[in-house]
């Protein structure tokens, strides 16, 4: 099974099918393509024109795999639970059982259990929220959501009061896209991303070294990045923004914030925020895979080998889910994981030697192509560190939206003896709501690590339990096994 039909998942499914394996590909979005190619495959979609022609061609080429016999694709399908280590019970190869909900179409809806020999997880990334007072007001979206609304449905911000706030390359891309399609943006707020009073980790010399190696490895990416840095598109840009606050009664009405020049207030009806993206680790956590904290990405990342395989398990992670790296690397990861999984399931001893050698050579080439692109990704990480939470969050700032847990609640729990993320969870209910920590988990780890003065690894991450999403009881009652 391949979970996720973005660039990584499509490539993985293609590689598996090409090697003669049957694949169930599922994705919870209504159409394949992941986030980067959202709306690119929909010919009649109002958002298709937002994609450059090149992107549309790439998306179409990637989605060609869905025509292959041997690949069964299900959209609007979500993983609910997964179980490993079933070899002893089945007496055969290592087996993984996945419970997933297919929600498409009347009569087709229901919870299914599929048993497979290998699982490739390509569930991509999530946006990192910015914590600030008023962030839960209607009218505040992530920058990815704004871009997604454009790509999916051709929705463009209209009229006065649109503001972008955050840091990272996506901000510039979204700004350019909104303006190109006739939308209006009143201001861009560059959120201060160095901790107050602290120099950037590694200093300027470290940054220069990273820049140099990136320029050598992938000059075109660096050039494109430099070009986009140059222009603010004539939109008023504020730098070094902190103490961001959204005000309004039923929806956002205005913003206030501070810069070195003083205090500012802006009318605002639509605010798009961005603070980078994080690997989506819900399924990898549910499966109990090991994760390591990456300081540069300020996130937990599943621990995998070069091919994306989790140690000792027939589970691979491909794409942004194994470390934010962009769509090109995601596709390479996916192909590599697919080939590796095929080799693992059909060991070389049962294969004609030339096919096995060919697979081996391809994996090697893919590995080299991946290695070449990594320095540029490291540059991106160095240039765009996460916004320190204390720059904008106040005690009354909501951290867990689902259960309405504020920073003050979390601090009280820590003061009362909660010594890790999961203890804070049981004290405060932070992370126990519908999203199971997708929104608050990263912040919770960072807050606990900061308050207890321990590493994020020691602070821990929220334990994830099934169901991965709140599941209708009626769906549990209509189940089937495949």
């Amino acid at each position: 099974m391949v979970v996720g039909a973005g660039p990584a998942g499509l490539a993985a499914a293609g590689a598996l099918a090409e090697q003669g394996l049957t694949v169930q590909l599922i994705d919870e979005q209504p159409a394949p393509g992941g986030q980067v190619w959202r709306g690119a495959l929909d010919r009649s979609g109002a958002g298709r024109r937002v994609h450059p022609d090149q992107a549309i061609r790439r998306a179409a080429a990637a989605a060609e795999v869905l025509r292959r016999p041997g690949i069964a694709y299900a959209g609007t399908a979500s993983v609910i639970d997964a179980r490993t280590g079933l070899a002893a019970r089945s007496g055969t190869d290592e087996r993984i059982e996945i419970d997933w909900l297919a929600a498409a179409g009347p009569g087709l809806r229901g919870l299914r259990t599929t048993t497979v020999r290998a699982l490739i997880i390509a569930t991509g990334a999530l946006e990192r929220p910015v914590l600030f007072p008023g962030a839960t007001l209607p009218g505040i979206l992530s920058a990815g959501a704004l871009q997604g609304a454009m790509k999916q449905a051709g929705l463009v911000p209209d009229g006065a009061g649109t503001v972008l706030a955050g840091q990272g390359p996506l901000m510039r891309l979204v700004l350019a896209q909104v303006l190109r399609f006739g939308g209006r943006v009143d201001a861009v707020l560059q959120l201060a991303s160095a901790p107050a009073g602290k120099p950037r980790a590694g200093g300027l010399s470290g940054l220069a070294a990273t820049l140099a190696s990136a320029a050598v490895a992938d000059p075109s990416l660096v050039a494109r990045g430099a070009a986009s840095c140059m222009t603010g598109h004539g939109v008023r840009t504020y730098r070094g923004v902190r103490q961001l606050r959204a005000h309004g009664l039923a929806a956002i009405e205005r913003l206030s914030f501070d810069t070195d020049d003083g205090h500012h207030e802006l009318p605002c009806r639509l605010l798009a925020v961005h603070d980078g993206i994080l690997p989506n680790v819900q399924l990898t956590r549910l499966l109990g895979l090991a994760h390591a904290w990456h300081d540069d990405q300020q996130a937990f990342v599943p621990v995998t080998g070069k091919t994306g395989r989790a140690a000792e398990q027939p589970i691979w992670v491909a794409g942004d889910g194994r470390g934010i790296a962009g769509w090109e690397l995601a596709a390479l990861h996916g192909e590599l994981a697919g080939l590796d999984a095929a080799s693992a399931i059909c060991p070389t001893s049962t294969q004609p030697t030339d096919q096995a050698a060919d697979r081996q050579a391809r994996r090697h080439r893919l590995g080299r192509r991946i290695d070449r692109r990594l320095p540029a990704r490291r540059l991106v990480d160095r240039l765009y560190p996460a916004v320190p939470i204390e720059r904008n969050a106040t005690p009354d700032t909501v951290v867990c939206r689902c259960e309405h847990v504020t920073l003050a609640h979390i601090d009280a729990a820590i003061a009362a003896g909660a010594v890790g993320a999961n203890r804070v969870k049981t004290f405060t209910r932070c992370g126990m709501g519908a999203c199971q920590g997708r929104h608050c988990g990263n912040a919770l780890t960072r807050i606990v690590a900061d308050r207890l003065d321990v590493s994020p690894t020691a602070a821990g991450a929220l334990r994830i339990r099934p169901p991965l999403k709140p599941t209708l009881i009626s769906d549990y009652l209509d189940g089937a096994c495949t």
Partner: protein, 394 residues
């Protein structure tokens, strides 16, 4: 070796915490050793039923004595345990079930207890408005109720800490020795082997209580079950008492916040958690069966959403009754384990029972049927496992 304490309790679940508090309140110096983390196993998988309804006769007087203690527990601990005297209702969904409830009502009445009352279908419809019309009647106890297991764990732990109970987590007892009158506990903690010494010991090790008992030569036939629980997102309030169903496994209740807590003794797969810690895995077909039982009583439950499912390891003694009493082999060890998925109700009372035993005081409660030495003689077990299952769901 650590200095001699008055008492070492093994197992920091609800039972162990309750014993620790009671002993500390009587002036003992108490060490509480826990192999994992506080309240992680059966205590977290409890449905939270405070239930004298459908109880084994040996436990009826104990639970009836525990009920008034539940009413004052939150005030005593200074923290809300979420106790509500909502009543417990065991529904009969067909004539066979109704006949079984009627037979039980007679038996319990003959034993001299008056707390269980039969309800006709009309009385049931009044007592539980909106219940599915096929229900024939029920057996009910008005002053039973439920509490919040997680909140109770928190409250007990904080109280124990305030009283000065020494809690040691991630430390597993691997052996037990005698040293004169003292109990010597050999354990393995995060930093390696460690030894504790105490004048008295309590085995509150839950699913591991049998292995601990074996260290001194006591035999309590017990197996480990991974009890499954599920909780829904909040629904508009429609249910006050806790519901069970005669002939089915079910515990269905709605919390003050509106969430449905659904269990009933369904067993998942025992094993290690994904993280390597002791635990269990949900069996999806049993989960579906559990949810179907709830939907059978209230069809609108089908539009609720399960937000989380989890398991906790519980010790199930072969005759369905806990082992509470002195060790047959060791002069200073008291057993309090094997609550077989229905220990929650006894939590406020168990501390008193156990400390009476430690101090050699006569208890006002008769716990002879629960004596761990009942398994000591060779020969067939006196009750089959399947008989006790019918009376087990908490």
């Amino acid at each position: 070796m650590k200095p001699t304490s008055d008492l070492i309790i093994v197992g920091a679940g609800l039972i162990g915490l309750s014993c620790a508090i009671a002993a500390r309140e009587r002036g003992m110096d108490v060490v509480l050793i826990e192999a994992g983390t506080v309240g992680r196993q059966a205590s977290s998988a409890s449905a939270g039923g405070v239930r004298s309804l459908n109880r084994h006769p040996a436990e009826i007087p104990l639970v009836r004595a525990a009920l008034p203690l539940w009413a004052t527990l939150s005030a005593r601990l200074g923290r809300d345990c979420g106790f509500r005297a909502s009543g417990q209702v065991r529904v009969a969904e067909d004539e066979i079930a109704m006949a079984a409830l009627e037979a039980r009502a007679t038996r319990v009445h003959d034993l001299g207890h008056r707390h269980e009352r039969l309800l006709s279908s009309g009385e049931l419809a009044n007592r539980v408005p909106g219940i599915a019309p096929h229900c024939r009647g029920a057996l009910a106890v008005e002053d039973d109720g439920f509490a919040d297991p997680l909140a109770t764990v928190h409250a007990l732990r904080e109280h124990a800490r305030r009283l000065g109970v020494r809690l040691i987590e991630r430390t597993r007892v691997v052996g037990l020795d005698d040293l004169g009158q003292a109990v010597v506990w050999n354990a393995v903690g995060p930093d390696g082997p460690v030894t504790y010494r105490a004048r008295h010991g309590v085995n509150a090790a839950g699913a591991w209580g049998g292995s601990l008992a074996e260290m001194v030569g006591d035999r309590v036939p017990i197996r480990t079950a991974a009890l499954q629980m599920s909780v829904s997102a909040p629904l508009a309030h429609f249910l006050a008492p806790v519901l069970g169903s005669e002939g089915r496994k079910l515990s269905l209740k709605q919390t003050a916040g509106g969430a449905l807590v659904i269990g009933g003794g369904y067993e998942g797969t025992v094993g290690h958690e994904a993280s390597g810690a002791a635990g269990g895995r949900i069996d999806p077909s049993l989960l579906a069966e559990n949810l179907a039982a709830a939907v059978s009583l209230f069809p609108q439950v089908a539009s609720g959403r399960i937000v989380r499912t989890w398991t906790g390891l519980e010790g199930m003694v072969v005759d369905g009754l806990p082992a509470i009493g002195p060790s047959g082999e060791h002069p200073s060890l008291v057993h309090a384990f094997g609550f077989s998925a229905h220990g929650f109700a006894l939590v406020p009372l168990i501390g008193t029972l156990v400390t009476d035993l430690i101090e050699g005081r006569a208890s006002e409660h008769d716990i002879t049927p629960l004596d761990p030495r009942r398994f000591a003689q060779a020969g067939p077990d006196r009750r089959s496992h399947t008989d006790s299952q019918a009376e087990r769901a908490a």
